[in-house]
Amino acid sequence: MTSTVTAFAQVADFARPPIDWHAVAPELVMLSVGALMIIIDIVKLERAKPYAAALSGLGFLAPLVPIATLAIDGVASEPRVMFGGAYVIDGYSLVLKALFLIVGYLVVLLATNYVGEGDYWETEFYNLLSASVLGMMVMASARDLITIFVALELLSIPAYLLAAWRKRDLKSNEAGLKYYLMGVFASSIMLYGMSLVFGVTGSTLLTEIGATLDDGIGSEPAVTLGIIFVIVGFAFKVSGFPFHTWAPDTYEGAPTPVTAFLAVASKAAGFVALMNLVVIGFVEREEVYQPVIFFIAAGSMFAGNFMALRQDNIVRLMAYSGVAQAGFLLAPLVVVGEGPEVAATAVSSIVTYLVIYAAMNLGVFAVILAVARKTKSGEISSYGGLFDYAPALAVLMTLFLASLGGLPPLGGWYAKFGIFRSLLEPGTGWGYTLAVIAAVNTVIAFGYYGKIASRMWFDAVPDDDRTRIVVPAALATALVLCIAGTIVSGVYPGAVTHFTDVELLAFR
């Protein structure tokens, strides 16, 4: 009875939580844009369709304004902390928010013609896309188990719907259903893990969890199980081995712009959550997460690369290539327990990789979309003789693939270099072993990237149809932005690292 009384007394002293409006402005702008788009849809119905893509594109660019003002305001050196440390706006979260918004914008560019020309719901497509990106933006700032979970659901649920967007196509239905079932399964495992971690540490704040685990409390098997379950849950999200099986089917069936979105933005959000959890929360429990992440990273590289060698469909190939790249991205998390400097290098190398990966991977999907406009096929054999009739696309595709493989002087080379550096810097056995595995896999990857390139340059055109491919303006813009990002980040990496040289710190 007394406890109830005190609980009411606490509510009676309710004070409005201080909200730093400037710091949450990017999310609020994104939310307002989403609401505005729904209102326009409600009022104008079919007449809103022609503006949907343009409005949504502007909607993704608008939150970049508050992000820029926050950056000018010096958030990178003086982070804004809200809700007792559950929501942190620092350099790390700002650069990731900008990345998610730009990826969202590029996906709109990829989708404009695809969605406009198909018999698909248009305004809803862009609405769900912006809802998903809003979830990703929240994820970048989330430093609390509940906030992370809410952000994860906000970014996942629209993505399940988007994967099944071609609703009269059985493959797309399969894609959506598989993605949904696997995603919900992963969410439930993760939630169980989170409840175990909360049960032992007594807090949902990552900083509190980190401090409690640092004090030696929480050596119970329950917290070990909790950490493993949480990591496994996100391994589903980033399609890491052995939880990658949904990726090829979902990527193949989903509309290609959505595939690009899943392969880049959704995957990046999973890595952001993993970084937040491992680097701030679990960092002291090295003996638990190190072997788990080592296994997932090494397995992803081998499984992704070897399966990719056998694929005939280019989207499935890109799915397996994405699994292998997920292995690369996970690798630096193995060594984050070696000290704050090592963790800082690891985090900035992962963020750099995410930015460069976004440019080159979206570029590949843009070329796939452009080629599919003529060939109506996803088979790799349909790329035969692409250089004969679409030389520009063939050159761009070759550059993107070379960058994914890691050839200097393209961006992928610098991204991989950063990963190797962060693995070798601490000088531990785990780091060296994983670096060797990564090096071996870099070589294997050239097998299938080279296969596509050789089809385009050396094979004959399969059906002798040499009509030129007309690339719509939106798609061409996306291609230019992606190739610029890919080349600039390789020739002058400082342009990327200037933004991505961020640290992930614990704030209370």
Binding site: V11, D13, D41
Partner: protein, 121 residues
């Protein structure tokens, strides 16, 4: 055994007790009652009405849409009830916040209405 696991012992004991009690009563009654099997007794119980067709028949998709809309109002109610009990403490801030919340949820209903979901054809 840690305190954490010991507290689960209570759960286990209650579970065992439940199985025991139900098992005893059902077992005893099966010993004393007469058994007269009739086919009618094995029909699925469906609110007293004889079931028609198979269990795998398709339901109209509209029921699903209405269920979804119901969830919207349900979520609204879940948040409004605790807010309403402490409205005075939250003051103007709480009022404005709740109106923003209701407005955003209302967009969903307006959307459904304008897209013709509420029409029963």
């Amino acid at each position: 055994m840690s305190e954490f696991l010991r507290s689960y012992l209570t759960v286990g004991l209650f579970g065992a007790l439940a199985v025991l009690v139900v098992g005893t009563f059902l077992g005893l009654s099966s010993l004393v009652r007469p058994t007269r099997p009739q086919p009618q007794k094995y029909i699925n119980y469906e609110s007293g009405v004889d079931p028609v067709g198979t269990g795998w028949s398709q339901a109209n998709i509209r029921y699903y849409v209405f269920a979804l809309l119901f969830v919207m109002f349900d979520v609204e109610a879940v948040f409004i009830f605790p807010w309403a009990t402490r409205l005075e403490a939250y003051g103007l801030f709480g009022l404005v916040e709740m109106f923003i919340f209701i407005f955003i949820l209302l967009l969903g209903l307006l959307y459904a209405w304008r897209k013709g979901v509420l029409r029963w054809i």
